[in-house]
Structure formats: C-alpha cells, structure tokens
C-alpha cells in the first residue's frame, strides 16, 4: 500500500489536496479530499445593506462571479418582493450574461484546466507502443492539448493548437459579457428588480458578430460536424437511443475514413469533441473497433449507486415577466430536480439539504442541520489544522452537504440528466447497462461539452430572438420591503447548483446571509455517518492510471478525477455562520 497524495491539485480554482491509499494493482482503497483555505469573509454582509451582496458575493469566485451575483440577485428579488415582476427583457439580459459566462467557464475548463492532462507523458508511454494508430493518436493529443511552459524529457513542448486557440475565444466571450455588463470579472450590472443596462440594437449586433467568431472557433476546433446537425440529432433528438446512435454512427464514419491513413487530425473531421468522444472511453473505443483508448469511463465512477445522487437547483429564466423564486422547476430552462444513483427521477426539495461538519475544521457541536441552522466556528488552534490524520479525522475546510442524507454530484452532468438531455442521458443509461458507473470522468466531460454546445444554441435565441432592446429593463424596489423579510435565490453556476439565502431585520439590514455552493457538494469530506463525498467516492475503487502500468509517481487518473469536477475551492469552503447559539445573527458565506 502506498500513500499517493496530490497537493496541490493545480489547474483548478483555489487550493485542494487529494490523499489516497493505493494497492499494488493501482486501485485506490481510501481517499480524502481536503480544501486547504479558510478565507472567513462570510460575515462581511452582516448588518449591511443587502444590495451590496450581489456585488460582494461575486468575490467568492473570480471564475464564476456572475453566478454568485445572480444567485444573490435572485435572493434579493425575493427579499424585496419583486421576483414576480422582473421584466422579461431584464431576465434575458441575465440569461445572456450567465450563458456567456458558463460557455467561457466550460471552455476554460475543457482546454486550459482539464485538457493539458491529455498531454501527460503517461499516455505517450502507452500509445506509442500501439503502432501507427497509437502514435497518431498521441501526436494529436500533445499537438492539441499541451499547455504553455510545458516540457517533456527536458525538451520544451509547444502549446497545443486547441489550447492556444481557446484562450482568445475565452477572452472574446468575456468581452461580450463586458459589453453588456461593464467589465468581466467583477461586473456591476446586477440589481434587484432587473438589470442596470439595456443592451442597445448596436450591442445586439455586436454580440451577434462576436458570436459568429466564437462559432468559427467551434467549427475549426471543437466540433467538426455541422453545429445545427449536431443540435438537431442530439439535444433535439426524439429519444436518448437516437442521440447515442447518431453520435456513434458519426464516429464510425470517421473511424472508417481514418483507419487506413491513421489521420485523426481536425482536417480529417476529428474535432476535439469527436476525438474525445471516440478515444476517451474504453467502451466506446471497443465498440468502434479502435485499438487504443484513454479509459476515462473506467475511473471516477461511483461504486455504490445508493450513496450518490445528482442534484440541480435549476437555472436560466424563460422569456416572460417575473419568475417564481421558490419553485425553479416551473419556469427555468434548466429545471431543478434530483436523479438517484440508479437514474430514477425525483422532485427537488430545498428542505432536504443538510450539512455535516464532523470531518471539517470546525468546533462543531451539533450535526446534520439544515443550512440555515448550521453552527460552525473555525478551529483556532494551529496544531489541529492538519491534513494527514486519515479518514476518521477532521481534514478539510469544506463541509459536507447532503441531500436527504445522500452525497450529491452537481454540475453539467447533473443538469443534463435532470433535463433528460438525450445524448448525455443515453450515454449514462448505456454505461449503466454495461455495468459501468453512469457517472465517470468520460460522461462528466462529455456532459460539459454538450452543455456548452446547448448554451451556444440557446444564447443565439436569447440575443437575436427573445431580447427586445426597447423593452423594460427594471422595476423599482422599495427598500422597506426587506424589513423582517427573507429571500431565497436558487441558480446554476458552471460547476453546479448554487443557492443564496438572505434575511433582513427590522432595520432592513442583513441579519443572516448564506450560500450553498457547488464546490462544497463535489469536494465534500465525509459526513457524520462516515460516508465520503462525491469526489472521494469516485476515487475509491478507481485506478490511479486508467491505462498502462501502475505509476505511483504519475497518478494521472487522480488528476483526471479531481479535475473532472472542475473544482472551485474558494466557493467550496464554508466558513462560519450563523444562527447558532454563539452568533445568532451572523452571516455565512462559503
């Protein structure tokens, strides 16, 4: 047994440690996920003007500030009693703003954070022994996904074509946000009751022009099949089976064309999505008759489906005036819901969320409370903040949120399952039937890619069809309405379900503010029953090397599993609250 620890897990937001015990065959037998940072700025909204929250909570995370801003604005809409009357064009501005950020965030994850691991020398070792096909596949992986400042065997490796091309696109997407929000990150355009800036006709034209440039990147690098053909046959497919068949037939055509030439280049029709879809999965590669795969479907799965579920709070408003802040299932484009580990669908009930601090660095007294009643004071004895105590110790700043007592995966995969997106649902079902976990590194990444494509499709509708530049952009709020009132904001951040809750006192100032964020769900440590969080569950039983020999010194499987969740630790770390006996009126932000 070897202890293999990755600390820090870089190329994520924030600072994370993954510690594992690994057997001789490379299988992980135990794992702890530790968030390494305590910022403690959670109480800063206490006794303050609630409106500041939409600004300041954006500083929880600089990668998805807009999601925090929007979850907060939703809570404020509710607090000031205006959610039901926010004008539809303001809601569209918010959709466009969030949609662009989600696309940018996913693209960053795929190309800048996750992608570089595909150029890991472990794959060189495996693939270059597999003849011409293996060599050609390796050439594509390093040629597309190598990061900047990269060296292999002492030789500098140039940054990959997809990697380099993605950075200007990310910038372009942020520029689109700035056009309608002032700047990015940290924009100032959110306000309860609406939005601060009505995009003009000129802005809409510019957005459309930017959009075409982004789509040019997509067609050159990401997806070589025609965009609308892809949407029609996957997102809009009449059944999951049809969506999966369309993709496997498309991949089969590509394989047939490339078999003799061993040409897997973009010019030969292999966009990054096609490439990863074919080679990323052992099961799919075998189905296609490919001699090599990365085996990403064999790692990062859940071994016991009864201990996991897939949670979505719901995001993106429909084009109509007002929305129901308490019931996101009814009027959101991405619905709320819960899918069990066995892929059964349930309704989402926010009351079923609890949090445990049994294994977190807090002076906990009571456990498994609903978030609003949570009571967590950080350890202040430096000698107790240690990360090497094993699974029974306190080992993370993250707390352990649970839905109905069960660990929950949130994010693109959870959203795609909850909206019953045909392609992702079909793949999940197929893996389930073949005895693989429906969730694994491969389906998690494909869900993120598919969601990016879907948002690109929806965005065009919001910008060019729905949004009316002459429409109303806000309704006034009455500051007195906040007095002795509370608000709930449920939303979807790129990394998953995000909720903000605010209460105000008789002076209209904040008495309690809290968030439950995707990072806490995903990276969570064990709960009071000793049940591991999603990342920990996916590590345990997986191999540290999905293909090839066991290499404790290059556990690329751990890198993939950790990064496949797109961790955000700044978001994840719950700190103090709250309503407990020590601090009855304080604020907690994660």
């Amino acid at each position: 047994m070897v202890n293999v620890t990755v600390d820090p897990l870089t190329r994520i937001e924030g600072h994370q440690r993954i510690s594992t015990e690994v057997g001789a065959d490379g299988t992980i037998t135990d794992a702890q996920s530790s968030s390494l940072i305590f910022r403690g700025f959670e109480r800063i909204l206490q006794n303050q003007d609630p409106r500041d929250a939409a600004f300041l909570t954006q500083r929880i995370c600089g990668v998805c500030p807009l999601s925090h801003g929007l979850a907060s604005t939703n809570a404020l809409d509710n607090l000031y009693g205006v959610a039901e009357s926010v004008p539809k064009d303001a809601l569209m501005m918010r959709n466009i703003f969030q949609g662009l950020n989600m696309v940018a965030s996913h693209a960053t994850h795929i190309y800048v954070l996750f992608g570089p691991d595909l150029a890991n020398p472990a794959y060189k070792k495996v693939l270059t022994t597999l003849g011409d096909t293996g060599n050609a596949v390796w050439k594509e992986m390093v040629g597309r996904f190598a990061p900047i400042s990269y060296k292999m065997d002492g030789v500098a490796v140039p940054a990959g074509s997809s990697y380099l091309a993605a950075i200007p696109e990310k910038k372009r997407l942020q520029e689109m946000i700035a056009l309608i929000a002032g700047r990015m990150p940290g924009p100032s355009s959110l306000y309860p009751g609406g939005y601060t800036y009505p995009a003009t006709v000129a802005d809409v034209t510019k957005l459309a022009s930017y959009y075409l440039q982004v789509m040019d990147f997509v067609s050159k690098h990401t997806l070589k099949v025609d965009f609308n053909t892809w949407i029609d046959n996957t997102y809009k497919a009449s059944s999951p089976q049809k969506a999966v068949s369309f993709v496997t037939e498309h991949l089969t055509d590509l394989v047939n064309k490339s078999t003799s030439s061993n040409d897997f280049s973009k010019d030969a029709g292999w966009g990054d999505v096609e490439f990863y879809a074919a080679f990323g999965s052992k099961y799919i590669a075998e189905t296609l008759g490919l001699p090599a795969s990365l085996g990403h479907d064999t790692i990062g799965g859940y071994k016991d489906p009864s201990k996991i579920c897939f949670v979505a709070y719901g995001g993106y408003y429909k084009y109509k005036d007002g929305y129901d802040p308490k019931s996101p299932a009814g009027d959101r484009i991405f619905t709320s819901g819960v899918v069990s580990g066995k892929l059964e669908y349930q309704k989402f009930d926010p009351e079923k969320i609890t949090e445990s601090t049994a294994h977190s660095f807090y002076q906990n007294s009571v456990n498994d409370l609903e978030p609003a009643k949570g009571e967590t004071v950080p350890l202040t004895d430096p000698s107790k903040i240690v990360y090497t105590g094993g699974s029974n110790s306190q080992y993370s700043w993250d707390k352990a949120p649970r839905y109905d007592g069960i660990a929950g995966e949130v994010g693109p995969l959870a959203r795609m399952l909850n909206i019953k997106e045909p392609l992702v649902t079909g793949l999940a079902q197929a893996f389930n039937e073949k005895g693989y976990s429906a969730a694994n590194v491969y389906t998690r990444m494909l869900a993120r890619m598919q969601e990016t494509v879907i948002l690109a499709y929806e965005l065009l509708n919001w910008v060019t069809v729905d949004y009316n530049p002459n429409g109303k952009i806000s309704v006034p709020i009455d500051l007195n309405a906040a007095k002795n009132n509370s608000g709930m904001g449920l939303w979807e951040a790129p990394r998953g379900a995000l909720g903000h809750w605010v209460s105000a006192g008789s002076d209209g100032k904040v008495t309690n503010y809290q968030c439950i964020v995707p990072g806490s769900w995903l990276m969570s440590p064990r709960d009071s029953k000793g049940i591991p969080g999603p990342l920990e569950q996916s590590l345990i039983g997986s191999k540290i090397n999905p293909v090839g020999d066991v290499d404790y010194t290059n556990p690329v499987g751990i890198f993939h599993m950790g990064r496949s969740y797109d961790p955000c630790i700044s978001c994840a770390v719950h700190t103090i609250d709250l309503t407990g006996k020590n601090a009855p009126n304080t604020l907690r932000i994660l």
Binding site: D49, I148, Y150, I167, K171, R183, S189, L379
Partner: protein
C-alpha cells in the same frame, strides 16, 4: 510603422513610460497599440538585459482567481503574446501550469516537469525571477499562517521563500496589495489576520513581508480585479529594465501604485461616460437609466484609476457605462471603505478614516468638491 509613430517611438525610447504622465502615456498607447508598444521596447532593449529570458513565478494565496481571469482577458497584447514578446518564461502559475504536487508516502516524487513543488524548489534556488502574488496571506491563527496550507507548507512560509529569492515582487489585485475582501471587517478578521504583501489595509507596516522581515521592492497593482493592462504593462516595464528597482519609489504613490495608472490627481469620475449628466445635475435614482450614478452610490469621484479612459475587456465598456456605480475597488481598504455601495457619500472619502494624512487630504478634497458640486447641480436641476 508610419513616420509619426516612429518619432513617437523615439520619444518613448528615451523615457521610462511608467514615469510618463497619464496623458502622454495614453496618447502613445493609443497611437501604437500596446502590442507594438511593448514590442518596440523589446527589440531595443533585449540586448541590454542581463538574461535573455525572464522568469516569472506567479503564486496564488487566498484568492478567487479573478485577477488571473482578468489577465487572461488581456487584449493587445494578450497574455500569450505578451509572454512571447517579452521573452518571459511563465515558470509557475498554479492555474495554468502542467505540474501539480505529487507525494508518495510523504515524499516528493517525479521531476520538476510534473511536480510543482520540486519545480518551485528549483526556481527558488536559481533565483533571478520576478514574483507575482495574487491573493492575500493569512497570518492566523495565532501567527501560524495555517489558514492556508499548500503542499504541506503554510502560504506565509512559501511567500517568504519565494520573495527572498525574487528580484522584485508585484502584488496583483486588492487581496495581494492590502488584503482586499479577505480583510473586510468581520468577527473572524482578527483570527484570520489577513495581510497583503506590503500593506495590511492602508497600513504599510502591516504587510506580510515586514512581518517576515524581508525587504524587497514591491509594486502594487490593485483592483478587484486588476486590469490586465495595468499588470502586463507594469511587468513589461520592469522586465525590460525600463524601471530600475531603485526608481520604483519615484513612480508609485504612497500605496505603492504606479501613478501612471492610478494618478493621485485624477479620478474615474473625470472621464466617466456619464459625466455630462453630472455637469447638468441630472442623476439616476433607479437603475437602468443613462444619467449620473452619484445618487446610486457611485464612488468614481474617490477612485484613483484610469478605468474611464482605458475601459475594460478590449475597451468595450466599464462599470459606470453599464449602469453600475463605481465601487472604488483600487483604493486601500476596499471593500469596507466603499460600503454601503449604493448609498452616496458626501461626508467622507471612500478611503475612510484608515488612510494616512496625505491621501486623506487629497481624497477629502475630492469628496468635498464632488459633494458640493452634486448638491449645487441638483439644486439647479430642480
């Protein structure tokens, strides 16, 4: 290159641009574009550099990665162009690097090509790098620094090691400059005891380097987030030797900010796209309008930055242009000194009561001027 621009380049070549006044600088930049601007310096000066390739070590403390995001949004030059033009080797950046910390039974394994902790040890040993710090540094609990531990080391310890061996330090963003949002007033602030590299809020004696007894030149590039131009142009000037280390005190203000970007005599308010409404005494009282945002709490009159000239994200917009009040995120003490964000403040500058006398006078004057004008204009408007 046109003759006019060539002449301009010749002029520029004789000047360290961080020493320029804002107007000359903006004119030069506008005429050439930042890419040409940096490129010009490069071709003339590379031979004068002690080492052809400059190493950059970028550390992340307690942060949200927003400043790295912002720098990735840079245009003309973008980050990759800038690194190439300046011949910079971004030797370490936690969000971008190929490496990660890899440990077997508590020992570092593999090589610097895959292991970030071995890479960092090598870099510290070699020295001769510029250190960029993003995020603040917890001193707590009890001076232990254990509220942030990365790779089995407190970030406090890491910063000390990295700074000792650096040529100079550039603090990027409000958190690295003075603690930013992590230092905001709260009941846990005394436990966490967050510090900037050279300042704690507006206190130049409270920076983490002082705490560690390390004396290194530090340039502060504040903002929440920092503007990519501020970061890349400062790096450019320092890396190309346009600013000698001993010259740094003359180009920065009392808070270590390059005056060319954060001019003591200039605020965002002066070039605000909504300034015309202010001058006519026309103010928005609800969001979504086009008039002056003063009554919605705008802090532009107290914010010493060139945002309104430079604008953001490819110069497409800025906060007030999009209808959001300026939050003065470049000032020491942000966010406390800017709150409440949506309430106008005529009595006191946003830098509040925590700043030293010199700045207090300047900011106070701005506050009085803005306040008096606002009242007068409003009176006229009615």
């Amino acid at each position: 290159m046109s003759t006019g621009i060539k002449n301009l380049v010749r002029t520029l070549d004789s000047v360290d641009f961080l020493k320029m006044d804002r107007r000359t600088f903006m004119k030069a930049l506008g005429a050439m574009g930042a890419a040409t601007f940096l490129g010009t310096y490069k071709s003339d000066l590379v031979s004068a550099l002690e080492f052809a390739e400059t190493k950059l070590v970028w550390l992340h403390g307690s942060e949200c990665t927003g400043c790295s995001e912002s720098v990735l949004n840079a245009g003309n030059p973008d980050l990759v162009q800038a690194l190439q033009k300046l011949n910079v080797n971004l030797a370490f950046h936690e969000t971008l690097c190929a490496q990660q910390g890899i440990w077997n039974d508590g020992k570092l394994v593999n090589t610097s090509e895959l292991n970030s902790e071995i890479l960092l040890e090598d870099l510290y040993k070699e020295g001769k790098y510029f250190l960029v710090v993003e995020g603040s540094i917890p001193n707590g609990p009890d001076g232990s620094g254990r509220y942030l531990v990365i790779g089995n080391k407190t970030f406090k310890e890491t910063l000390g090691e990295a700074a000792k061996n650096a040529i100079a330090v550039i603090a990027v963003g409000a958190c690295a400059c003075w603690g930013g949002i992590t230092s905001a007033d709260s009941e846990v602030a005394k436990d966490t005891d967050y510090r900037g590299v050279a300042f704690a809020k507006a206190d130049s004696k409270g920076g983490m380097l002082k705490e560690l007894g390390i004396d290194k030149p530090v340039i502060n590039i504040p903002g929440c987030p920092a503007h990519p131009d501020w970061v890349l142009l400062t790096l450019g000037a320092v890396i190309l030797g346009k600013i000698k280390l001993e010259d740094i005190p003359s180009i920065v203000d009392d808070y270590g900010r390059p005056m060319v970007f954060f001019p003591p005599d200039h605020t965002v308010h002066e070039n605000c796209p909504r300034r015309g409404y202010y001058d006519r005494g026309e103010f928005d009282t609800e969001v979504g309008g086009e008039k002056c945002l003063w009554k919605l709490g705008c802090k532009a009159p107290y914010s010493h930055a060139d945002c309104a000239i430079r604008k953001w994200n490819g110069s497409v917009s800025m906060c007030t242009q999009a209808g959001g009040p300026c939050i003065a995120c470049v000032e020491p003490g942000f966010p406390d000194t800017s709150r409440p964000l949506y309430v106008e403040r005529e009595d006191v500058g946003v830098a509040g009561t925590n700043i030293d006398t010199v700045a207090k006078v300047a900011v106070g004057a701005a506050a009085v001027a803005a306040g008096v004008h606002a009242v007068r204009r409003m009176g006229k408007g009615e």
